[in-house]
Amino acid sequence: MNTDASKKLMIFALYAGEILLKNGAETYRVEDTISLLCRSGHYEYTEVFVTPTGIFVSIDQKGDHTGHMTTFIKRIKNRSINLEKISLVNDLSRRFVAGHVCLEEAMQELKVIDRSPGYPFWQKAVFGGMGSALFAALFGANFLEFFFALLASILVTVTASKMDEASFPPFVCHMAGGAVAALLAVIASGVVPGVEMDKVIVGAVIVLVPGVAVTNAIRDSIAGDLISGMAKGAEAVIIATSIAIGVGAVLKTWLLLTGGSLL
């Protein structure tokens, strides 16, 4: 295979890996997909090394040939969760390896997948808030608490994503989200009788809590992907701490004003 074709295949494989990694796929899935795509182009020696912040791929052909060994590096800056894109890329790579689509078509399809907008923002905010507030209901929140948690949760999502769009660092976004939740909970518990503030706060910030990130971090570490495990763990700890700082600052201020104890 000549170098032009190998370059095209590599770009395709890296692009697929990038979309997977950016949208929260597991490390092993990204590595498997890239190496499968490269092997389908008869590169028998394919080494892939994926961390949450970058992809490294090296390919070579078996036997005597004039081509060179090639290595590509791709830097990944931001990560979120979008399961639909993972599902679509997975499906596309399956069809590509089976030979149902050619490289040009697959590349076009990949671009369409990358640009697909997903659910509209208000739907994400409202349904995410609903799930989040119901989480509080599962642990014994009454109807009023559920209502305030829903309200707070939608506000938290809006605050965090609007600040993210204004390119504040993630630490500040999550801190602001936690502060908004705590503020609304404090006001609600002060004004409306029968509303416990801890249920409202937990129900509101659970949209931000990195539960999935923690689980993935431990899972990667157990599976032997130690670097991605540590990196994801660090990310999760930083997110959790920033939420706690936001919530804690508001609660502590409120305590200083009114007196009393938290636990």
């Binding site: 969760i81 599902s87 997903g118 659970i206 539960g211 689980t215 938290l262």
Partner: protein
């Protein structure tokens, strides 16, 4: 009746988070169903053993098993069903209490709540890893069988070729 209500709530939680995580619309009912079954297993285990950690373990095991079945049937990656499914197990209140204890400078309470929350996370990850390794084993066996078949058919072609020549 209580249990039915909880299962319904869990179902809606998962659907809500599935929207947040942009899961494909067709996977929503299945993810919700798997999560509800997982929560049922969680409730059963907790009432038997009294430990939320073991409960989270069995619950996740059920979710991962059902997620794998759905992923084989629908040819969708397992993550689509599992990531929203494990959300109800996330130790939100445990983490919140840890934070409150740290604010109150009651560090032994913080360690106790924090360890509990950490072990729930560990239990979820363990269950997922176990299910995933079984899945990988099954896949590699299937691949081996396929390769063997291909090799045999290749041999057949070769022998017929040599015979004909």
């Amino acid at each position: 009746m209580m249990i039915l209500k909880e299962l319904l709530i869990v179902n809606f939680i998962i659907c809500g988070f599935a929207f947040l995580f942009n899961a494909p619309l067709s996977s929503l009912p299945k993810a919700g169903f798997g999560g509800a079954m997982g929560w049922l297993a969680h409730l059963g285990t907790v009432s038997l053993t009294g430990s939320v950690i073991i409960g989270s373990f069995t619950g996740t095991l059920v979710i991962a098993l059902l997620g794998e079945m759905f992923s084989i049937r629908d040819k969708k990656p397992m993550t689509v069903f599992i990531v929203p499914g494990i959300v109800p197990f996330v130790p939100g209140f445990g983490l919140y209490n840890t934070m409150l204890a740290i604010l109150e400078q009651d560090y032994s309470m913080a360690a106790s709540y924090g360890t509990d929350a950490f072990f729930v996370g560990l239990a979820i990850a363990f269950a997922l890893t176990i299910m995933l390794s079984i899945n990988t084993y099954r896949k590699s066996k299937k691949q081996n069988r396929q390769m063997k078949k291909e090799r045999e058919s290749d041999k057949c072609v070769e022998t017929t070729l040599s015979e004909s020549s």
